[in-house]
Symmetry: C2
Subunit: 171 residues, 2 copies
């Protein structure tokens, strides 16, 4: 990106939105691979649902840029690429379906928490600047990410306790 | 790492510990740069304190490996390298000290949340396998990470409301 001096909270807020826009785009590209390799049906459908939610979150960011009178723009984020590279690495390992599902849930929770931090910061800054409408929009995404994280926790417990992962515990 | 088949929860748990061990090591290398570039005194000392806590967390992981009768070993994690690369990128941008501090707090919260997810998974798996002592150790680190995240949130509010970042809000 072109050289600029970041001096106002608006400047760093815009940078944060541009990075979140990149992050959502990368997640949309990565989720289909995770859906494909998940075995436990609840996990597969959970990832499918989350892909749709993520697409809406990306569109919501476009609405946030509109609200600000700014163009939707991405700033390339290394962290999300690293998170996704780690998922690809996991998927290359020889794993039983149970071990792969457990690892995929853990990887998805890494990504959720990463997003929770990002949207948490963006929301705090929006509130600080009195961008009420934008704050509401960011709050909505933040709630969805927290919900997704909780769903994954419950899913992990289900998978452990019921059937999918039970065989592996006493291996 | 050598090719192996991950089949038991123990296998993926050990892999998770090895990744956390790598993550803590990378954070220990990165924090001095963040300390050096932070301006707001509370932030600088907060990072300094966190460096000491992180060193203890790394040693605690060595104790966890001992408990399991396993050697302390790292598996290289792309995500933490990406997170740290993003911090380096931020530190290369032209920013006022206030904008840099706000961005450093946000970056540190990304890292905290990332660790919260990692230790959350490790703790859930330790409990599942009945590793009570190890679960207590992981819980201790998880509590510290959550505390660090809260401290950063309070610090961000202080910085915003008091002095350090006030000038930038209405820029």
């Amino acid at each position: 990106m072109k050289s600029q001096t970041y001096s106002s909270l608006h400047d760093v807020f815009l940078l944060k939105l541009q990075s979140l826009y990149d992050i959502e785009s990368e997640i949309i590209k990565a989720l289909p691979k995770m859906i494909k390799r998940a075995t436990y049906p609840e996990l597969k459908s959970g990832f499918e649902d989350h892909l749709e939610v993520t697409k809406m979150q990306k569109e919501r960011l476009e609405d946030v840029f509109d609200e600000l009178g700014e163009k939707s723009k991405k700033v390339s984020v290394d962290a999300i690429r690293g998170l996704i590279k780690d998922v690809s690495w996991l998927l290359q390992q020889k794993m039983t379906p149970e071990a792969r599902d457990a690892s995929l849930i853990a990887a998805a929770q890494y990504i959720e928490h990463y997003e929770i931090a990002g949207y948490g910061t963006a929301l705090a800054w929006a509130e600080e600047m009195g961008h009420d409408t934008i704050a509401d929009m960011l709050q909505e995404t933040l709630d969805e990410e927290r919900q997704a994280d909780e769903t994954l926790t419950v899913l992990a417990e289900h998978a452990m306790n019921e059937k999918a992962l039970q065989p592996m515990i006493n291996d």
